[in-house]
Amino acid sequence: MQLAYSSFAHLTFMGRLSHHEFIILLISMAVMLILSRVLAEFGRKLKFPIVMGEILAGIILGPTVLGLLAPNVFTTYFPSIGNTSIALDGIAKISVVMMLFVTGMEVQLPMVLKQGKAAIYTSTMGMIIPFASGFFIAYYFPSLFGVSDENYRLLFALFLGTALSISALPVISRILIDMNMFKTKIGTIIIASAMFNDLIGWLIFSFILGMLNTSTGEAQSVWITIASICGFGLFMLTIGKIIIDKSLPWMQKKLSWPGGILSISLGICFLCGAFTESIGLHAILGAFIAGIAFGDSVHLNQKAREIIHQFVTNIFAPFFFVSIGLKVNFVSNFEWQLVLVIVVLAYIGKIVGASLGAYLGGFSKNESMAVGVGMNARGAMEIILGTLALNAGLINTRIFVALVVMALVTSLTSGPLIHYFVGKEADEKKSIETI
């Protein structure tokens, strides 16, 4: 007994949370959850995306507001060093892995295939043009973004291209539901194309992070990274999917509800995350692909799907989004020229690309524009991508702030712009009928 006690004492010395730190951690977590919920609910009334309230909570609790008004309170409850900070960072990291898992669960590749030509054109053009425009500007004009290190120019250009090409599925689907367009032809194409964009975007981003991890950056590393991503994806979407599909009915029948399905699904998520992290890719890739394999199963019932979403979205996502504001000063890092460049690039690339794709896929001019502006919403996905890039040292805080602003602005303007183009289409149809 004495021996066991001394072992624990040793662990405490090595870095366990002290009694005081544990209380601080609990208080900070409570404040993060409650404030983000209050602000998110307030924003919901105004039809703002929930992520906006969560980011705002972080800004209020972080160096931007609390750090300025009451620096002592800020450093006591949200310290940037020490065990509490490590614990919060760990929670945020786990949260992002889980968020990518639930994002993957909603990527339904069959839906993209089902929509055929229109979805393929919209999603590929909606990726290629913003990616190319972002890559071109970042690669040839790196000084615009304050990138001076030649070694990172290519990776930064790849990142910006990816950041400009992804879409935010939850924000888009909410807009479509509110506009009663979720099940329309336009709505279905937007959703299917955004799913495909997310898939390709996260694969490219995993490749970039994988490249960042390799110290040499030689050609062989590139191929090993690509082969690892493809190999893991292929395994999970074939054999992994079959195993999940076969075991899900048993899990849902024999294990306690909903605890069983929650534990196993998140267990698979963490295992896959650990595997991809161990082979030099980021854990998010493992979680994302595991989510696709899990979510695609015909045996995953709607209720189980909802429970997993509720658990991750309402408990872990706020920790992640609030923690962003805790680390970054949004005022001192706000550079309007940079914000303007990124916002303009985001709008032009995505709207032109996705609209052109939709037009080639058989939509009318106004319908194509509605698809383009719908896909322009970046929301939470962009913020997750930006945070991971910031943590990996791929971008600086000023670019990160510009990306967050772009994500929020594009999310807020998507709804009214869809409304405008759908209305214009209806007016034109009416005038033709009158003639």
Binding site: E106, K114, P170, I191, L237
Partner: protein
């Protein structure tokens, strides 16, 4: 080749029915079923065989035709060399076939399924309606329970009308149109920003819109004395209805023809009719409405 007669040709009546003949143990049973169906609709029956015309095969087929009681003068027999799928599809077009009958096993092994068997490949590509018979019998029975996929698609009305046409000939008193309730991404959206009553309302409204559309189609049909029931099942499109057909012990499951060319990716990331083709729950009719 003039295919103009095929364009906009309605999916019924079945004026010409073809049956693919392969020298398998089920040949006689498939012929018996084809005879019953062609007699039921008063159609001309064409027997198609792709392969060498040898005296042994001719003799064997003649014996089967005689045993089944098919009139050789009334019905036609076509032999042709070539690649089976393309040749059968070409012959169907040339002869303006309205319904092609094929024998098919319920579940193929994984390799065959991904590579694509003859019957399944024809089902995916045919420009006429295709009937896959899973358990053809030498003593065919009429279709008693018919289930139709009521997916929100312009083709559905033609598919339901075709199923109704079959039901009338089979003298059924009812058949079921199934609507599948699958709302992708909704869980994520609801989890993010909806209260419980809002979530229920959203789900209800979404299904209601589709229900109203389907009800309008059904109301507009000339049903005579047949009662058409609309049933909603939950789950992935194609899979949910297949499970429902299996549970209800249906005799015939009716689907629209695919909207796009289905390839290997559609089998890997299975969706819609591919779920039914992967594991046939009963006889499957794929209606090609030629719209």
């Amino acid at each position: 080749m003039d295919y103009s007669k095929l364009k906009k040709r309605p999916s019924y009546p079945f004026e010409t029915i073809a049956v693919a003949v392969s020298f398998s143990p089920r040949l006689e049973a498939v012929l018996c079923e084809a005879k019953r169906i062609s007699n039921l609709f008063g159609s001309q029956l064409i027997l198609l065989h792709v392969g060498d015309k040898t005296p042994e095969k001719e003799e064997l087929l003649d014996a089967h035709i005689k045993k089944v009681g098919l009139d050789k003068n009334k019905n036609r027999l076509i032999w042709m060399d070539g690649e089976p799928v393309d040749t059968i599809l070409k012959l169907c077009k040339l002869n303006i076939v309205d319904l092609l009958i094929l024998g098919a096993i319920e579940k193929e092994n994984l390799f065959r399924f991904y590579v694509g068997s003859i019957a399944r490949t024809i089902s995916r590509r045919a420009k006429c309606s295709v009937l896959l018979l899973t358990q053809p019998s030498n003593h065919p029975k009429r279709f008693k329970k018919i289930i139709v996929n009521g997916v929100d698609n312009p083709k559905t009305i033609h598919t339901i009308k075709t199923a109704l046409y079959i039901s009338k000939h089979e003298k059924l008193s009812e058949f079921t149109v199934v609507q599948e309730d699958d709302l992708p991404v909704l869980s994520m959206t609801i989890a993010e920003s909806s209260t419980a009553p809002e979530a229920t309302k959203i789900k209800k409204e979404m299904m209601q819109d589709e229900n109203i559309k389907l009800q309008k189609i059904v109301d507009g049909l000339d049903k005579e004395n047949i009662a058409v029931t609309i049933k909603t099942v939950h789950g992935k499109p194609g899979y949910a209805i297949s499970q429902f057909a299996k549970q209800k012990d249906a005799d015939l499951l009716v689907f629209n023809s695919p909207d796009t060319h289905l390839g290997i990716f559609d089998r890997i990331f299975t969706h819609d009719i591919e779920y039914a083709l992967a594991n046939l729950p009963c006889n499957l009719l794929i209606v090609h409405s030629r719209i």
